[in-house]
């Protein structure tokens, strides 16, 4: 075979090329004869364009030659329109390459497929092969196009073991990434480096027809980004030799789908968040609009000391002398003990009712009352209810308020009694209470309905009871009720001076009250009465009584009582509006004070126990046999 390489030309038009090819072939003795060439020239011209169309020629021809592993290859043929040659064996395949000098027949036929298989021994790479079909009678069907080099016809098998793993899901839960991995086809020898393969992944959503191709990948894994949750994706892969153009077949597809698990919760979370935000905004609006009221409810102001009839400012300043006390006899030289801090204006001031049976029940605004009550904790007579109540209706007409009556109509006054400073509380003979904090203790007499009345600082004693009680001047409507507690106390105390406690109550503001100082019982210590003898407004009005009774102090003074400060069993709060002295007709001279600062209008009989002796004899008094105790004298009456 002699080849004459032609000189290089730069003129490569199609027709010239065809001409040159023909010249080559003519020189090559081993190649098909010119007749065959000529018969094929039309076809070759017809196949001028590189991209040959797929129109099958009518004569028998080689369909395709493929190598899978670059070590073996196969060729298929077709009889074309010559159906008489379709039977196996009618057509035979011959090949030639540059190593061989003549045409050789196919080493191995696979007749059912019309296939010829070239094994390793018959395959050489990088050398050209040509194929030929021969029929009976040595008719040869040859096409010059059927020449190739094996490395150019390599189409690798599809990769195997294609699977996927989920990488992550986006925070919104709508997208996710997957990692697809596979293995090289087993037929391709990549381990020895004989074949270098690159892969191409294609995927599509389940309902589309267009495949999306990813970059050629040399590794055996690839990430697919941005898949949509809920959609089903189809993925397949193919491969080819690197730097070559022919791809192998696609692998079987796999299906990828991720079902959203939190899709339903996502809007729910949004709804919750927005709902809570809206509620918060609403609450804040309400709070800001009702700020004052809320502040009052949530953080009630600390009650300031406020005594009816007493200017709180004076209290603060401690100018007790200025306070308008009346007939305190018992010596209010010391700082007066105020039984209660009453608030007439504040609505929240309520009665404190302490049920004897169940101690401690009832609401109280001030702890002192119930504490004292509890401390005293006297076994009550069954019939008695110890009521410690504070109410705005209690006690004293506030000079500021202008109310004649301190009683709140809503307050169940019938059952609640004011705390009283009465030292003669029958119940607590033994119990001593610490006086100082018990300023607000108002012990109510529970012996029967007892009413109290607002009292003034000034009171004119109009009469003296045979029992020793003192009746104050009747300038006001007084409601007095005899207290039966005094009788009860008598057996307990055994004191001579026992007075029934009179409690008068007065509700109406317009009524002028006089303070009833009651220290009825002997033994009754001013302990409980250390609370200043301030009277809570009586729960029930007692009509018609125009006088008050002042009970004599018990002769005995209990030590604790003496220790107390401000033991005066009574206090006469000032009631400014009360015109106590307006219509006073009679009065009595206060002779002396007993130990408990009680006012003794009649000097006690000598047979009375000396304990009844007031500790504070009114020495100064005799000098003024008749007349009231004026405030300036009051100061001299200090114990």
């Amino acid at each position: 075979m002699l080849w004459k390489a032609q000189s290089r030309r730069s003129d490569w038009t199609g027709q010239a090329a065809v001409k040159r090819r023909r010249t080559f072939r003519a020189c090559f003795s081993g190649w098909p004869s010119d007749e065959v060439v000529k018969s094929r020239s039309a076809v070759s011209l017809w196949r001028f364009k590189r991209k040959t169309s797929k129109i099958t020629p009518p004569e028998p021809h080689i369909t395709e030659c493929i190598s899978r592993d670059q070590a073996t290859f196969q060729c298929w043929w077709s009889p074309g329109n010559f159906h008489n040659l379709s039977s196996p064996g009618a057509l035979r395949l011959f090949y030639i390459n540059s190593l061989a000098s003549e045409w050789k027949e196919c080493p191995k036929y696979v007749h059912p497929n019309r296939e010829c298989f070239f094994d390793n021994n018959h395959t050489s790479i990088w050398i050209p092969y040509c194929m030929q079909l021969r029929g009976q009678n040595n008719v040869t069907y040859y096409n010059e196009e059927d020449c190739f080099r094996v490395e150019n016809i390599v189409r690798p098998d599809p990769p195997v073991s294609l699977n996927w793993t989920l990488l992550n899901i986006s925070p919104s839960g709508l997208n996710y990434d997957v990692m697809v991995n596979w293995e090289a086809p087993p037929s391709a020898d990549v381990k020895t480096g004989w074949m270098r393969i690159e892969y191409e992944i294609q995927y599509r959503a389940g309902n589309t027809t267009k495949w999306d191709a990813l970059e050629m990948q040399r590794q055996t894994q690839q990430t697919i980004f941005g898949l949509h949750v809920g959609k089903e994706y189809e993925v397949h892969i193919r491969c080819r030799m690197r730097s070559f153009v022919r791809f192998g077949e696609f692998s079987d597809p796999i299906f990828i789908q991720v079902i959203s698990s939190k899709g339903s919760t996502f809007p729910l979370t949004l709804v919750l968040v927005f709902g809570i935000t809206g509620v918060l905004i609403l609450v804040m609006l309400i709070v800001s609009s009702q700020q004052r009221r809320l502040m009052m409810i949530l953080l009630p102001p600390v009650p300031a000391p406020k005594i009816k009839g007493i200017d709180p400012e004076l209290l603060k300043k401690g100018k007790l002398d200025d306070l308008n006390f009346s007939s305190t006899g018992g010596g209010l030289g010391g700082p007066p003990t105020y039984a209660t801090d009453f608030y007439q204006d504040e609505l929240w001031v309520e009665f404190i009712e302490v049920d004897a049976e169940d101690a401690g029940t009832g609401e109280k605004e001030d702890n002192q009352g119930s504490d004292t009550q509890r401390l005293l904790d006297v076994p009550q007579p069954i019939s008695h209810h110890m009521n410690i109540g504070f109410s705005n209706a209690v006690s004293f007409p506030d000079s500021d308020s202008g109310r004649a009556s301190c009683y709140d109509p809503d307050v169940p006054d019938q059952d609640t009694l004011m705390a009283t400073l009465l030292p003669g509380q029958p119940e607590d003979g033994e119990v001593k209470t610490s006086p100082a904090p018990e300023r607000l203790l108002i012990r109510t007499q529970t012996a029967g309905p007892q009413t109290w009345f607002n009292t003034d600082f000034y009171a004119q004693v109009s009469n003296v009871m045979p029992t020793g009680g003192v009746v104050l001047s009747p300038g006001q409507q007084l409601r007095i009720q005899e207290s039966t507690s005094g009788t009860e106390e008598e057996p307990q105390q055994g004191k001579e001076h026992k007075g029934s406690e009179d409690s008068e109550e007065e509700k109406e503001k317009e009524e002028q009250f006089q303070l009833l100082v009651v220290d009825p019982e002997g033994g009754r210590q001013a302990a409980e009465s250390n609370t200043p003898q301030m009277f809570a407004p009586p729960s029930s009005p007692i009509p018609g009584e125009g006088y008050q009774t002042i009970l004599p102090q018990p002769a005995e003074t209990e030590p604790a009582a003496t220790a107390e400060d401000g033991q005066s069993p009574y206090i006469l709060p000032d009631s400014p509006q009360s015109q106590v002295f307006a219509r006073v007709a009679d009065y009595t001279v206060v002779q002396e004070l007993n130990s408990q600062h009680s006012l003794l209008l009649n000097p006690p009989p000598r047979q009375s126990p000396p304990a009844c002796r007031p500790q504070h004899p009114l020495k100064a008094l005799p000098s003024m046999p008749v007349g009231y105790i004026t405030p300036d004298l009051l100061g001299s009456l200090s114990p």
């Binding site: 490569w12 090329a17 070759s44 001028f48 390793n120 990088w126 050398i127 150019n152 990549v190």
Partner: protein, 231 residues
């Protein structure tokens, strides 16, 4: 005063520029890659050297493939015509293994020598190919640049494979029979003017085949010697 200031500033600037360039120059040549741990050069592992060389050969083959495709599009209607094949190639005289078994059976030294021979044989022809392409207006600049690139790459590839052979000899993987000098066959192939009459297209065709051979042989060699990664 002005002159003094200007002069000082210019001096400083010149010095700075010199320093900058010197440093850049030193940086460029700071650590040449060498196969042996001689003074002042980076020592790369054999695996690294192989990877570089194989990548380079793959790129070379890719470019040759592209150029060949272009040629076929414009000038050659048919493909794989046996008439233009292999006998024309001037490297046919170099004995190369034509199959996987043959390649795997071949000794490492022989395989290395074959590669080197091939690369040597193509140095001149490619250079001339580029020249002819540049001179003819039929080819666009893109193709001409590719041809030049191809030529340069073969040159570099040859150097690279030489380094690899050197390293292998140092490591004792192959015997010292592989000489860096060009073998007589290769010399013959390159000096001979067999390639001169070849058409451009045939040159491309042959080079495409031979670059594939080189790539294949290098990969086989690498996977035989260092089968760890990338095989």
């Amino acid at each position: 005063m002005m002159h003094g200031t200007i002069r000082s500033v210019s001096c400083v600037w010149v010095v700075w520029v010199c320093l900058f360039f010197c440093s850049s120059v030193t940086m460029v040549g700071a650590a040449p890659i060498c196969a042996n741990a001689q003074g002042g050069c980076h020592v790369l592992s054999l695996a690294n050297l192989f990877d570089r060389v194989i990548q380079h050969s793959a790129r070379t083959h890719g470019i040759s493939n592209n150029l060949h495709t272009e040629f076929e599009q414009y000038f050659m209607p048919s493909k794989n015509h046996i008439g233009r094949v292999s006998r024309n190639c001037h490297t046919s005289s170099i004995l190369t293994p034509n199959g996987k078994d043959n390649a795997q059976r071949m000794a490492r030294e022989e395989l290395t020598e074959v590669i080197l021979k091939l690369l040597v044989a193509w140095r001149d022809p490619l250079w001339h190919f580029h020249q002819s392409m540049a001179h003819h207006h039929d080819f666009n600049n893109f193709s001409s640049n590719k041809a030049l690139e191809m030529s340069n790459m073969v040159h570099e590839l040859h150097k690279g494979v030489e380094k690899v052979a050197e390293k292998m000899q140092v490591l004792g993987i192959i015997s010292n029979t592989v000489s860096s000098l060009v073998s007589p066959e290769a010399l013959l192939a390159s000096d001979s003017s067999e390639w001169r009459p070849m058409r451009d297209y045939d040159l491309l065709y042959c080079f495409r085949r031979d670059s594939n051979k080189v790539q294949n042989y290098l990969k086989i060699l690498k996977c035989r010697i260092i089968p760890e990664h990338g095989c």
